[in-house]
């Protein structure tokens, strides 16, 4: 595979209407854009259209882009705005499922709160075990990454978009708050719930005895 071009190079190539630069960008972000759009418009075909409109807006806006945010953030922000308009709501209401107060770890792995010895500490035999002994081949295998993707797909939609933007796209918390119009605290709560569930899915897969 060809080396990935950095954003500044991409931007200047795009401004010269270079097709390979455009191809690299859409390969990188199109699927993520469609995914993000689906939290505002439920229909995946409409999400696909919104993502296409976003690319068109990106191309037409290239000369206006001032580089105050990263190119990536700019593209995601355009997408979010278009998806909101298309979905007919200015701000998304975060669904009940996103806030459902599910603990990070199943309560039955801890001693009872009223236990005399070590209340609310890991119960005997329930403490997490290190993953250090797991061969790197397995840890980094496509199969393991698929487990993560499946776990993310099953998350409530706001949790899914926060973990995708934060841990997959590596946008900053501040950028995510702007795009999704949520507070930093809410962003962290959603991120934490999402990560906790992904960790559990990985543990179930890597250490089924737990």
């Amino acid at each position: 595979m060809e080396a990935q071009l950095d954003e500044l190079t991409l931007l200047s190539l795009l401004r010269q209407r270079d097709e390979t630069a455009f191809t690299q960008l859409v390969e990188q972000y199109h699927s993520s854009l469609v995914r993000l759009a689906t939290i505002y418009v439920q229909d995946t075909r409409i999400a696909e259209e919104v993502a296409q409109e976003t690319w068109l807006a990106v191309l037409h806006g290239l000369d206006l882009f001032e580089g105050r945010s990263s190119l990536k953030t700019w593209i995601f922000t355009i997408l979010a705005n278009k998806a909101k308009t298309r979905g007919g709501r200015e701000t998304r209401t975060i669904s009940y499922a996103d806030w459902e107060d599910r603990p990070a770890v199943s309560p039955d792995r801890f001693n009872d709160s009223s236990a005399e010895k070590w209340p609310d500490h890991w119960a005997r035999g329930s403490a997490p075990a290190s993953w250090d002994e797991i061969p790197e081949d397995l840890l980094l295998s496509q199969e393991t990454l698929n487990i993560i993707r499946e776990a993310i797909d099953q998350l409530p939609e706001s949790q899914r978009s926060v973990i995708a933007l934060h841990d997959m796209e590596e946008l900053s918390a501040q950028e995510i708050c702007n795009i999704l119009e949520i507070s930093e605290t809410n962003q962290r709560v959603l991120l934490h719930r999402a990560r906790s569930r992904v960790r559990q899915a990985l543990e179930d897969y890597l250490q089924p005895e737990h």
Binding site: Q52, P103, A104, S113, H192, R195
Partner: protein, 80 residues
């Protein structure tokens, strides 16, 4: 002791800890607990690895139809 953090509390604070948003005294309790608890140390390590691995997950590749649509869009823009 009153102020000691339990394992059940710690697992809910991992993201706040990693993002550096815990209040100072809670941050200290968090680290004190970690230094004496193998289970939570492993848990913390698993969360770090989870984050790292999530960063390696790529979205699905584009379908040929998606790629064609997007290239057409690009070429139309280029011509205009």
């Amino acid at each position: 002791m009153e102020n000691e953090m339990t394992c059940k509390e710690l697992v809910e604070l991992v993201t706040d800890y990693l993002e550096g948003t815990l209040l100072e005294d809670v941050h200290v309790q968090f680290e004190n607990h970690l230094s004496g608890c193998d289970g939570c140390t492993s848990y913390m390590e698993q969360m770090r690895q989870t984050i790292l691995l999530t960063g390696k997950v790529r979205e699905e590749n584009l379908t040929p139809i998606q790629r064609d649509d997007l290239l057409r869009l690009f070429r139309d823009w280029k011509k205009a």
